[in-house]
Symmetry: C2
Subunit: 350 residues, 2 copies
């Protein structure tokens, strides 16, 4: 008699939003950010062997839906992510995401996971991992410009991975700053809510910009930025959306993830197409220089890249082993005899 | 107090393999094939308004993993599908698949579904829908060359949609023919197992080829094919894999799904790049001619296209409403305040 229950191979571990949040608390949020940063750094080190397809975008008047695939030759991964700025008007998220890993050798999926929470974690882990390489030595104060959904993750990642102790928050909406300050209280950081951007920048060696304006904005003007700082520019992440005055870019050494994507989506869309940039993976594997002078401005023009999602899914896959923080999804048909799919369907009757 | 359970908007209906099989039996397999054919035909009629991205393939030594996205401007869909011929050696499926629909206006996924079973159904439904347009009038006998996983679905679809009464099965492996004949018994078809391909073709007005050879094979030679038949060529569906002798192609009027894809993957990869073909959607909406003469050989060079998967997912989405044949997946994070993702994570603690 044919066994009607799917075999182990046909079941795909699934991490729901609820289980992702349980996993965060099981591991500890700072430990998870650190773990993610280590996985991302490890994948940046072997950057060259990845299949780096550009993301596949489906644009509409309301927004964009993207598939971001990559592969290291053994494991394949992709992320589904949307961006719909007007969603918040209807009480929906601007961005939602989920992701999948599959075995390259068999094509069988091996992990399906929510990625709204996970993307927030990997974005912060990437920022802090990069700051660990580029920020001035002894940096302990970060200006956090924009107190939206990413701000607390950025703050905790910079604490856990770079040793930041002081966060100086600024947002045009005081309620957002108050929300972030409240969320960060009791987490071992000294948090100051600043009245102005200039005030937020006082004494900061790291400046993170993460605002939501969908246009060419000038969140930082040239005169606000002193020498020797590290700028972690997160918010300029799609065509037509930037945060920094061009003069700052001209004073900075610019580090990016994947130049073909950053030139379209990042701060450097404001610059000439051949403006020199350094690929971050080369700094990490030692083939390019990072910070070379104390008075240098380093700028990480971050837009998010598929390999970071791949690293994050890899981390989750390793962490859920032996836990109950996933359940098995009956996603793949698995007849005993591959030629007898019809028989499998028929035997399921009644 | 924040409600920790996800909102309706954050839950995505998921159709497992088990539920897909239940749905097949709930609807009835012939009724489902007919319903799918109607949805596919409706989408062929409005072919021009679809976003027809080529599939995005990640190739490896062992096989391929593909993402097949499309959109009609209101709904977005994609299918994940792998092809790993050596999988059967290890007791795994050559092809597994799943798919997703999302709302273009919000980017929110609205359906996640297994598609291994569903792809088998939609492939057969597409074949029969096309045969309804191209096969000679009164066709009641089909030669089924290749008795693999697709053969029973093809046979039942041709019965339900085109009125076929007799199936003449041939496979190089008699065990495969016996399996298909056994599965089709008691289903209102007269099934004959033929000893040779020539024998299978006796009296058949429709010839379906669906074999698994991953090479340029000659399943049908020129002398086997009489005038006036309709050939439904399913098996030639990737570069380097064909089933028909080129001479047959030269005697036939050839109908295809999406020429840029069929020229790479279909039988016509054996022909000149500018060999004339007719796009099937134009036959269906009346802007191109189908069968014009009784002695004409019509050939549907089918490779499978993203729009057929989209139609199939659309059908499933409509059919599961009000049933219990899906469950809600907690795939999307949905904080009360979109800026307070961190707070949502923190409140989930303990």
């Amino acid at each position: 008699m044919t066994n009607l229950s799917p075999s182990d191979k046909a079941l795909v571990p699934f991490v729901s939003v609820d289980n992702m949040m349980k996993l965060v608390h099981h591991i500890g949020i700072e430990e998870m950010l650190t773990g993610l940063a280590d996985y991302i750094e490890a994948d940046f080190k072997r950057w060259e062997l990845f299949d780096k397809t550009p993301r596949i975008a489906s644009h509409s008047a309301e927004g964009v839906i993207e598939l971001m695939p990559t592969s290291d030759g053994e494991v394949y991964g992709f992320k589904y992510v949307n961006g719909h700025p007007k969603n918040t008007r209807d009480g929906l998220q601007t961005v939602t995401a989920f992701g999948l890993l599959a075995d390259v050798g068999t094509g069988y999926p091996v992990l399906l996971s929510e990625m709204t929470v996970l993307t927030a974690l990997r974005t912060a882990a990437t920022s802090a991992m990069v700051a660990r390489h580029l920020a001035p030595k002894g940096a302990d104060t970060m200006a956090m410009i924009g107190a939206g959904a990413q701000s607390e993750f950025q703050s905790l990642a910079m604490k856990a991975i770079c040793g930041v102790k002081n966060i100086r928050l600024y947002d045009i909406d005081p309620a957002a700053s108050a929300k972030a300050a409240r969320n960060l209280s009791g987490m071992g950081l000294s948090v100051t809510v600043a009245d102005t951007r200039e005030d937020a920048m006082q004494g900061a060696q790291i400046i993170t910009t993460c605002t939501a304006d969908k246009q060419y904005a000038t969140i930082l003007t040239d005169n606000m930025v002193g020498s020797g700082v590290h700028i972690n520019a997160i918010g300029g992440d799609c065509p037509g959306k930037t945060e920094l005055a061009p003069a700052i870019l001209h004073r900075s050494d610019i580090f990016v993830e994947f130049p073909p994507q950053t030139r379209i989506e990042g701060e450097i869309q404001q610059l000439a197409e051949d403006h020199p940039v350094t690929e971050m993976w080369q700094v990490i594997n030692g083939t390019a220089k990072g910070r070379t002078r104390a008075d240098q401005i380093t700028l990480f023009d971050s837009v998010g890249f598929a390999i970071e999602d791949f690293s994050a899914l890899r981390y989750v896959r390793d962490q859920i082993k032996g836990t109950e923080m996933y359940h098995d999804l009956d996603l793949l048909a698995d007849p005993d005899d591959p030629r007898d799919l019809f028989g499998m369907v028929q035997r399921a009757k009644g």
